[in-house]
């Protein structure tokens, strides 16, 4: 899946120096396939859940839970820091420069990305790279009240800007569509000059239904496959430390990433990253959270002091397999109102309780109660009054909505 930023031809993976980031038309987006075994297990687990039978008996792992302990948050941050979004921004820049030559008349570029996929960070880095301003989103209450102040201010902006949050211009309400329509219409006509607009993939799936024809080309960051995750996690682990530890699967002891240079080992290759890519659908943000959540260390392992950081450095990180993680799940018996709330959170990419009640055919009290319940279940998080689906709960929520026939994104 690794290709040059221009995205012209696929190339054989060249681990460390190959470009990781690739933007492609939305129609060319490919989700990494789940391993057959993982798919079969997933179906079997769903069947168990359906008929409420006991879970399958598992083989004894190489490292049991009792032998392993948690890693400190600081250590996790050093092992899996934020990716360098400038690289992705450069890939986008390269794509747009080649596109500009081909389609000089194009006045608007739309980039969509899945929740937690880093699209907003990439567009912020892109704006820095091109030295253009980033437009702040309007108030969603203002959208419902048909307040045109934000749009007037936008018209006074310089002719080049980046707006990374198209989803903030709409509410799923009959009175909440006008601003997204107006913005995309004027951007397409060239009223704003050359602009780059970002949108959450769930929101775009809905917005595209009522703005047909207004947007031509839509780009998306290609999903990461196991090779890309291998390179990314190695780079991240090496960026915050002097020496990268071994990452081994706690159930079978297999190495997940190639062993660090000059170190023996290199047991049988693990299928973990293939499973991770399938479970996260190649979404960097979701994969990072799942990767971090599974990490454990042996408390009694001979750890050495890091002179610079002053914290323990473990030589081996044991990673729990994905099917051993206790991730949030949506009960199959969940009432339909729960499904409506989860879908409402995703199509707005996070929303306040009051606005969600406006968007759904549910009372404010009902919505508030369900959000608290979802928070307790680990499926939603409250970020300063704005509720979102939690990164750990996202795979389960997406699967739940898809099986119930609700509109889902393409990413």
């Amino acid at each position: 899946m690794l290709m040059a930023a221009s995205g012209q031809s696929p190339s054989v993976r060249s681990p460390d120096d190959a470009p990781l980031w690739q933007f492609v038309p939305l129609s060319d987006f490919e989700v990494p396939s789940k391993p057959v075994l993982q798919s079969a297990r997933g179906r079997l687990d769903a069947l168990y859940e359906l008929v409420r039978l006991r879970p399958r008996v598992q083989e004894k792992p190489v490292k049991t839970e009792d032998e392993l302990g948690h890693i400190s948050e600081a250590e996790l941050q050093r092992l899996v820091p934020e990716p360098d979004w400038k690289e992705a921004a450069s890939a986008l820049d390269g794509l747009l420069r080649s596109g500009d030559r081909e389609r000089s008349s194009a006045t608007m570029t739309l980039v969509v990305g899945p929740p937690c996929g880093g699209m907003r960070e990439i567009l912020n880095a892109f704006a820095s790279l091109r030295s253009v301003p980033v437009v702040e989103p309007p108030s969603r209450f203002g959208v419902l009240e048909k307040d045109e102040t934000w749009l007037h201010q936008l018209r006074k902006q310089k002719p080049r800007w980046v707006f990374p949050a198209l989803e903030a211009t709409f509410v799923r309400h009959p009175a909440g569509l006008w601003l997204a329509r107006q913005l995309l219409g004027e951007a397409r006509n060239g009223s704003f000059g050359h602009v780059v607009i970002g949108c959450d993939s769930w929101s775009w799936e809905l917005i595209s239904r009522f703005t047909r024809g207004l947007v031509g080309h839509v780009h998306v960051l290609q999903a990461f496959g196991p090779e890309e995750f291998s390179v990314l996690f190695r780079r991240l682990a090496e960026s915050g430390r002097r020496r990268r530890p071994r990452f081994r699967q706690s159930d079978n002891g297999n190495d997940i990433l190639p062993s660090p240079e000059g170190e023996e080992g290199g047991s049988e290759k693990s299928g973990y990253l293939q499973q991770l890519a399938g479970r996260s659908r190649g979404n960097i943000g979701i994969a990072r959270v799942l990767w971090k959540t599974g990490m454990q260390v042996e408390p009694e392992e001979g750890s050495q002091q890091d002179d610079e950081k002053g914290s323990a450095l473990h030589r081996t990180i044991w990673v729990r397999p994905l099917d051993k993680l206790s991730l949030p799940s949506v009960p199959s018996s969940a009432e339909i109102d729960v499904t409506l709330v989860l879908h409402g959170l995703l199509v707005h990419n996070g929303i306040s309780t009051e606005l969600l009640a406006e968007a759904l055919p549910l009372s404010l009290q009902k919505v508030a109660g369900l959000l608290y319940w979802l928070g307790d279940e680990g499926l939603a998080v409250d970020e300063g009054g704005r509720w979102r689906v939690s990164p750990l709960g996202y795979p389960a929520v997406r699967s739940h909505l898809q099986t119930r026939g609700f509109l889902v994104d393409q990413c």
Partner: protein, 281 residues
């Protein structure tokens, strides 16, 4: 040899052991049927989409298979399984019961035909002789539907011979719903059409795989708009229609578009059952 002796010859000597076996077969068949009738709907109600209907449809099929298997086993215990014996016995049963239970037998046969032709399956939303509801069970002689008011209506399969059966979703999840709006004729039709499309697209119940459409008809007393769309699941049709209606009213009133009552309402006659009314559109 007289007739009664002929009949007696068909049957084997039924010992006590044979009687116990017959009772056990009947009890076993009854137990399996009861188990399936409870287990399969429980599983079906935890899944959605096409799979739900497929699982529900298995109930009557399995029941028929179990009954046929039990009947074969019992006949095998009671009579010598020769062609002559079978013909004689079936003739006897047909003669004896045919007149007394004509409608009952007809319903049983129609029940078997419904399994093959499937004019309705469990999970379908049907209207038969004015009763509208979801098919909850298909028994040997009759089907049970549950109306939106939670009333069970038992409909003999006999009705498939000569009555019209309206099936709103026909074994799938696509069930069209209609919300009606009667507006004062003096308005911008294009604006209203756009508003109604937006109302449908912003409904949380909308199924996007199916089209949304707005049909307009000019009446002598009002402009009649029909907003047609599909919910994500047929079971949510009434909440969907309610949502379309309430949001539509709110959005139209915000644009100061006036509503008009229908003449039927104005004359005091009862409006039709909204569910049937929706389906008829």
């Amino acid at each position: 040899m007289n007739g009664s002796e002929n009949v007696a010859e068909i049957f084997r000597n039924v010992s006590q052991v044979t009687l116990v076996q017959i009772v056990l077969i009947i009890l076993g068949a009854w137990g399996i049927i009861a188990l399936l009738a409870r287990f399969l709907p429980m599983v079906a109600n935890r899944i959605t989409g096409r799979a739900r209907f497929n699982v529900l449809a298995l109930v009557p099929v399995f029941r028929l298979l179990v009954i046929v298997a039990a009947a074969v086993m019992i006949f095998n215990l009671l009579i010598e399984p020769t062609i002559e014996n079978l013909i004689a016995l079936l003739g006897l049963i047909g003669l004896g019961l045919g007149f007394a239970f004509k409608d009952y037998i007809s319903s049983l046969i129609a029940g078997m035909i419904t399994l093959y032709e499937a004019p309705y399956r469990p999970g379908d939303w049907v209207e038969i002789e004015g009763a509208y509801g979801e098919v909850r069970a298909i028994n040997m002689r009759s089907a049970e539907i549950v109306t939106p008011d939670d009333t069970v209506v038992v409909i003999p399969h006999l009705t498939v011979w000569n009555k019209l059966i309206y099936n709103a979703n026909d074994g799938g999840r696509n069930l069209q719903c209609v919300a009606d709006f009667y507006l004062h004729p003096d308005h911008d039709g294009r604006q209203v059409e756009q508003i109604l499309y937006d109302v449908a697209y912003t409904s949380a119940w909308l199924q996007f795989d199916q089209p949304v459409s707005v049909i307009v008809q000019e009446k002598p007393w009002a402009t009649h708009y029909r907003l047609k769309a599909y919910p994500v699941d047929p079971r949510h049709q009434f909440r969907f229609i309610t949502d379309l209606t309430l949001r539509g009213k709110e959005a139209l009133r915000n644009e100061e578009i006036r509503f008009l009552p229908s003449p039927a309402y104005a004359e005091g006659s009862e409006p039709a059952n909204p569910a049937v009314h929706a389906r008829e559109k």
